[in-house]
Symmetry: C2
Subunit: 118 residues, 2 copies
């Protein structure tokens, strides 16, 4: 088994990868930063920092507070946040579909246990 992971690196150095995409999805589904953080096993602070870094990287925010500030009562994806997530998931699916044969060939050569991860 082998999995493809996609990251987008912008000119500013900002990055969007599987972790941030999953966090956006979790905010969308739970309507809350703290529930999203809990669901992903990360601290509220970490989730907030990740979302804030995305909000700072684009001309439009990806997440807004429903009320009471980003710390307060709920949060939701903006339409740009939803678009970012949708584009990321589409790129991921297309890449995985196209890479399926190459991935399978490499997975057949991979040992079940490898050396140290670096």
């Amino acid at each position: 088994m082998a999995q493809l992971k996609l990251s987008i690196v912008f000119g500013s150095g900002a990055r969007i990868g599987p972790g941030k995409a999953a966090l956006l999805e979790s905010v969308r589904d739970t309507g809350s930063i703290s529930a999203a953080a809990r669901g992903m096993g990360m601290s509220y602070k970490r989730a907030w920092l990740l979302l804030d870094s995305m909000n700072q990287a684009f001309a439009e925010p990806v997440v807004t507070a429903a009320s009471g500030g980003m710390r307060g009562g709920g949060a939701q994806l903006t339409s740009f946040g939803a678009e970012l997530l949708e584009r990321y998931r589409r790129m991921e699916e297309q890449a995985a579909a196209l890479a399926a044969d190459d991935l399978a060939a490499l997975a057949r050569m991979a040992l079940p246990e490898a050396g140290p991860k670096i």
Copy 2:
């Protein structure tokens, strides 16, 4: 401007991404681990560890010493190492071609300077 980065994650946890692919390429082109390391601005030790981790992750090594051990006189990609590199580059090109429109749309929204990188 936005760039797509691909990583393959195997069942063992072993990963192949842009850095390891570039290192394989550099060993192929220079025939030497130390020259490859220099060309990539990394220490010999770091390059050796990265190559060794790839050698341990698959049923066949990716790099072999031409003579005198991996520390000694030159190194070259094995046929599997060349295959791994070729498959990685093909997946990368295909993904980038397919993702071009989505990437361009996101790059248009990206600010030239972002907040802290996380």
